[in-house]
């Protein structure tokens, strides 16, 4: 890493990828990052990753012949592999850089945040994973529309998928561009084009097989790199958490004292990293945000799709167990890494701007720590891993968006379920290309925008639209086509609308004065999820149509199949 001559960055490059600013966490507004000097070690390591993954794509392309291969890798992924791939899909660059930065700044609050991202997994395990596998084939709409009139429910599910994918994808593209300016010293647009082009190659030629392996490799690299950092930090303190925490508290105390605080105030400030601080602005926001994370995880289309890549319900359960284990382990690592950043990075002038603050912004905490514990080579490695992480996530998102268009809209709605595999595959590839180009263009358009809200919006929509429809269609006999569609769209519209009216968009993005947001809470989920659920319930019980009777009668066969797997779609031959 070269000496940085840029001015102090008060903005953090990828904060907006995951950290909702209104939670008073360490998420300054998302602004343009300063381009840094070109980092050749990182670029070469990333080049190795790209060559390796393209080789895998070439191999996967030979196996991607049917629509089933394209969407689900032929259903031949094992539970362990799928667990790693889910972890690779879910652990974004923002989790890694953003949460370790949050821990570095406010300690305990960062832990509270990461717990929210983990607690959706048991819910998926207990209520959804095996039933999804038993009922579905390619997309979550297969499950949501199982016993309903296909056209309206598919249109709803495809809308829910595309809205989630669009916001998540834009956030990832903008994050990639900002991150690469910092880590590799390349121009923003180059980074966005590279991400878009590689992602299109993986998905177009290698479909789900290539996407899965990119995610598995990325998960291994990220878990390996983060383990090395956490172990290095712990090793330095004789593997005593108490000594690590004591050192961090001392450093925070000294920083506060240098800032002019009285000894008592400085000590209090130091100790504040060991307990909850300002994370919870108000309990309503906290609970609402917790609901968005917990139930949003269970409604993310690109995650749900992964359950169709395994051959059986047993493997689906194993997948989610491994995924939960790896993701939980990863959040424990980021907690240690954040404390390591306090003791190794905040004390080392070569990582600090003259006026205080981290070179490149707070989200560079883990990256600077990589250099502190592993030198330039390891710094290059972690930078390359951060870029690879974004690639793996966008590939999964694009595949999920493409299947919503080709499988749900084209094959089921337009062709009435009679499309042949070859033409469906062709439509998926055209959609992949379109989504890739759109993602690059939107990534460039949104470069200077405040997009901090986009990931939390994606989770809110998933929790308020996709999750209620899926949940009630699987578990409640009374759900009807009309109820699912009306309630689902109500959840979708209200979550988007309330997000626009919340401080994160109304004030931070649209530039209205502070305090003027009509919806005062940081997440709409508590309200929009309620609207979604009540909408489905109310419309369903009032629904006296002939279709409603067919929908209710269809519950028993659906339930039997979801519980026993009898009649479930099998893995394809290879």
């Amino acid at each position: 890493m070269s000496r940085i001559v840029s001015r102090i960055l008060t903005t953090a490059a990828v904060a907006g990828l995951a950290l909702a600013p209104t939670l008073a966490l360490a998420a300054p507004d998302l602004g343009p990052a300063e381009r840094q000097a070109t980092n050749w070690t990182a670029i070469i390591m990333f080049g190795v990753f790209v060559v390796g993954t393209l080789y895998i794509t070439k191999w996967a392309a030979g196996r991607t012949k049917s629509a089933s291969d394209f969407y689900t890798a032929g259903g031949g992924i094992t539970g362990f592999q799928n667990g790693l791939a889910i972890a690779g899909d879910y652990m974004s660059a923002a989790s890694f850089l953003g949460i370790s930065a949050a821990v570095m700044i406010s300690g305990y609050d960062g832990l509270i945040y990461s717990i929210g991202f983990l607690v959706g997994w048991p819910i998926i395990t207990f209520l959804m994973a095996e039933r999804l596998r038993n009922l579905g084939k390619f997309t979550f709409a297969d499950v949501a529309a199982f016993r309903f009139a296909q056209t309206p429910v598919r249109i709803f599910a495809a809308s829910g998928t595309l809205v989630v994918v669009a916001f998540y994808l834009i956030a990832q593209m903008v994050g990639a561009g900002q991150l690469i300016k910092l880590l590799f010293g390349l121009d923003y647009w180059i980074a966005v084009v590279i991400v878009g082009a590689l992602m299109m190659v993986y998905v177009l030629f290698g479909g789900m097989t290539a996407t899965t392996w990119v995610q598995i490799i990325k998960a291994c690299l990220l878990l390996g790199g983060a383990s090395f950092m956490a172990l290095s930090v712990l090793w330095h303190y004789g593997f005593s958490p108490e000594r690590l925490f004591a050192a961090a508290v001392q450093i925070k105390t000294d920083i506060a004292a240098q800032g002019g605080a009285s000894p008592e105030a400085a000590r209090a400030s130091g100790l504040s990293i060991m307990a909850p601080g300002t994370f919870i602005a108000d309990p309503i926001s906290a609970i609402s945000f917790g609901m968005a994370l917990m139930f949003g995880t269970a409604g993310l289309p690109h995650i749900l799709m992964r359950f169709f890549t395994v051959p059986s319900a047993k493997e689906a359960r194993k997948s989610v167990m491994w995924a939960t284990g790896w993701i939980g382990y990863f959040y424990l690592l980021t907690f240690i890494i954040g404390f390591g950043a306090i003791t190794f990075v905040l004390t080392n002038p070569s990582f600090l701007e003259p006026g205080g603050g981290l070179i490149g912004g707070n989200n560079m905490a883990a990256v600077h720590l990589a250099q502190a514990v592993g030198g330039n080579i390891f710094l290059g490695f972690i930078s390359a891993v951060a870029f690879a992480t974004i690639l793996a996530v966008v590939a999964g998102l694009t595949l999920s968006g493409a299947s919503a268009v080709s499988h749900d809209i084209y094959s089921t709605v337009i062709k009435g379920g009679k499309a042949d595999s070859a033409s469906e595959l062709k439509v998926s590839r055209i959609t992949t290309l379109t989504l890739g180009v759109l993602a690059v263009l939107l990534g460039i358009v949104f470069e200077k925008q405040n997009i901090a809200f986009m990931v939390s919006l994606a989770f809110a929509v998933a929790a308020s639209a996709n999750f209620p429809v899926l949940f009630l269609s699987i578990l409640w006999k009374g759900t009807t086509t009309l109820g699912a569609v009306v309630g689902g769209f109500l959840g979708l519209i209200s979550s988007v609308l309330l997000t626009v009216l919340s401080p994160a968009v109304w004030e931070a993005t649209l530039g209205n004065p502070t305090g003027s947001a009509p919806f005062p809470y940081s997440s709409p989920a508590l309200f929009s999820m309620t609207i979604g659920f009540v909408g489905i319930w109310l419309v369903s019980i009032l629904d006296r149509s002939r279709r409603a009777q067919i929908d209710r009668d269809g519950f028993l066969p659906q339930q039997v199949r979801s519980e026993t797997g009898i009649g479930a779609s099998q893995a394809s031959s290879h």
């Binding site: 509270i112 909850p276 339930q559």
Partner: protein, 102 residues
Amino acid sequence: MDTSVAARIAANPDYQRLKSTRSSFGWTLTIATLVVYYGFILLVAFGKNLLAIPLGSGVMTLGIPVGIGVIIFTIVVTAIYVRRANSEFDALAEKVRQEVLK
């Protein structure tokens, strides 16, 4: 699956046992997870001082083992469900399949 096959399976005692055991087990663990997580969030909102209680003579607070504990709980509770489902529930489902589809 046509409705008559479904009705036959639904009437099978092993199927009914599978459905009710799994449902009560799944919902018990779901409620436990909700209680632990939202209990933790409410503690963060209303019991900050409780979580800041020091443990021992150093800087360690009660909040650290509680927070780490929630992560470990999440992983363990998932593993408990999957172990039971992959042995007991799958065996039961297989039995139903044998009985009905012979």
